[in-house]
Point group: C2
Chain length 342, copies 2
DNA sequence: TGCTATTGTGTGATCGATTACACACTCTGT
DNA sequence: ACAGAGTGTGTAATCGATCACACAATAGCA
């Protein structure tokens, strides 16, 4: 009978008994809905303090049919971008009183089992009755999921190629590609290599498209490497080791990490960025300011991306209809790796 | 009455109605506990498929008094180490059928409101009825939390100064400090600077202790900088900009990022690592292999740390008593930043 | 003096699952 | 033919909250 004996956590019934009121009254006091007398308040509060009572959210969630929780799908292990997005989501959600339940997906882009895996992970989030889902990593093959989810619960993707006019927040990768390339052109470069990001990803192709448009407009021949395997510095290094045909004086790398690896490979060939050639990239991770040389890059505000995603979920929850897409603008950060050609 | 009308998700009652059995039978089929006839199984399964039924974990959790969920507290925004730990946790937990609910704490180490903040976050996890909690970032002042939690639910800290023989998993920072310093001594260095990590953190002081012990044994004077503000490259850069008294031929930096920033500052003074002086650090983040020069460092397996933490929680859950501490050994990774003195 | 509003409290249905229990039926083996 | 084991299924209590509803008591006001 006495739940104290079982050393389980005290329930509202225990508080009610101690304060000599009914559970209904305790609930009204705790939720702030309905009338509760001053003396009852008093007694309930001290009972709560004495027992160290904490409301059981599982029970509350069952009754209220809402969990104040949102689910996040990202690819793991987390790289700089994904973990920043997660931090932004956590920040915004915690302040709004929401919790985050996360699931990381293996990111073998080519693994045929991947779609099933993502489906399973999403299913688990749904089973947990999350109030909304954020797909934090753009993922080829998530499209099927999209339609099913869109009509079920608030859903936001960070893909920059949303299939509808709603439910996405992303940085303008095309603009970022343009920004980077334009900077090199402005510096006077006429032979610009693009070290391309992973294939199948809209982010990569948008960046490339930005590059191509600028380069075409300037009457320069486009030179694009084979796609990197992933966004890592090791991928950039591998590309740098490959024979590169044609001459070039500047390289636009798909992101900072790739640029780092690419520069490493170039050093092995005796070429120093910021002296023998120029490099520009995209991301502006914290370390980029201390690369050798400090990396000129296009900053993407991943934290804001996460916050924005949460805000959209919240708006959907409050208004009942999906929030309009939010596009985040990239910004050029001039440092020392991009200089005029020799 | 008909919950289909409300377009809410189908419940077990809907499945039972469609399959023409009672909810008890549906439950038995789904949980695999108890007898269910072959034809009933058949009908239930097709009802499940037809309705797209998913069990409501909130209801299940309330009834079973277990959520198959663990809470993770880390400091945000996530740096390389923390996000790797999180990935390790996610990996291990997802495979075991557990979910992760995360909360990131602001890491102003000196902010007096910090302990209250961590308390609130932990309280929220408790309210969510998580089955266990992992404190993924060592945090000065979490000690008070410790005692309360230890006796409440399975709790694992990643602190390398556990207060007990149980409930902690961590890398041996002292050994890492020794490993790094020994390598420099072995290379022939006799004047070694230690760029110290953030104060108040056991990890920092353990690394320093490892350094001091090795240096003392070799009859070398210890030279230690003021502590960095945090683990970032910018901190390392700031230290590097400070006037450094005394001569030294090699620097042991508290982690990779700090080393990167420190080298940046040294370049500004015309000094190149791997040529004019040596650098060694701790972490082995993926980019370190592509620093200029590739960084010699002591690898810490953060992913394994996360997995280990989850395993300990699981063991506690299964056996009913806390798992013994797990220590992870660091490993030297030789690259090009540490060379014999000129 | 009544009559309505406001305030305060208890009761019981409910959310969607799990599971103990009761009951029925089918086989065995004696 | 009957006891007992093994199957298969329905009923109802339960987990811990929220909240609609009923009902008192008090206050204000004609």
């Amino acid at each position: 009978m006495n739940s104290q004996q079982k050393r389980s956590r005290p329930s509202m019934a225990d508080v009610a008994a101690l304060a000599n009121v009914s559970v209904g009254t305790v609930s009204r006091h705790l939720t702030g809905r309905g009338y509760v007398g001053a003396d009852a308040r008093q007694r309930i509060q001290s009972a709560v303090d004495e027992l160290g009572y904490r409301p059981n959210l599982v029970a509350r969630n069952l009754r209220t049919q809402t969990t104040n929780t949102i689910g996040v799908l990202s690819m793991g292990p987390l790289d700089f971008g994904s973990s920043s997005v997660l931090s932004g989501l956590d920040d915004a959600s915690r302040q709004a009183g929401y919790g985050l339940i996360t699931a990381q997906l293996p990111h073998d882009l080519d693994d045929p089992r991947a779609p099933a895996e993502i489906e399973r992970a999403a299913g688990r989030l749904l089973a947990h009755q999350v109030d909304g889902i954020v797909l934090a990593s753009p993922y080829p093959g998530f499209e099927d999921l999209w339609d099913e989810l869109l009509n079920t619960i608030p859903f936001v993707t960070l893909s920059n190629h949303p299939r509808q006019e709603v439910g996405a927040t992303y940085v303008d990768s095309y603009a970022a590609g343009r920004l980077a390339t334009e900077h090199l052109v402005d510096l006077g470069h006429r032979a610009i290599l693009h070290v391309r990001g992973p294939r199948n990803l809209h982010e990569s192709s948008d960046r490339e498209r930005g590059y191509r448009d600028v380069v075409d407009a300037a009457g320069i021949d486009a030179q694009v490497t084979v796609p990197c395997e992933d966004w890592s510095s090791t991928s950039g290094y591998r590309i740098g080791r490959l024979p590169i045909e044609g001459r070039w004086t500047a390289a636009f790398c798909a992101n900072d990490a790739i640029a780092l690896g690419f520069q490493h490979a170039m050093y092995e060939r005796g070429l120093s960025a910021g002296r023998d050639y120029s490099v520009i990239a995209i991301d502006d991770m914290p370390d980029a300011a201390h690369f050798h040389p400090p990396l000129t890059t296009v900053a993407l505000d991943h934290l804001e991306l996460g916050r924005s995603a949460f805000r959209m979920i919240l708006e959907h929850l409050r208004t009942g209809s999906p929030a309009a897409n939010t596009v985040i603008e990239p910004a050029l950060v001039r440092r020392e790796s991009a200089v005029p050609p020799a």
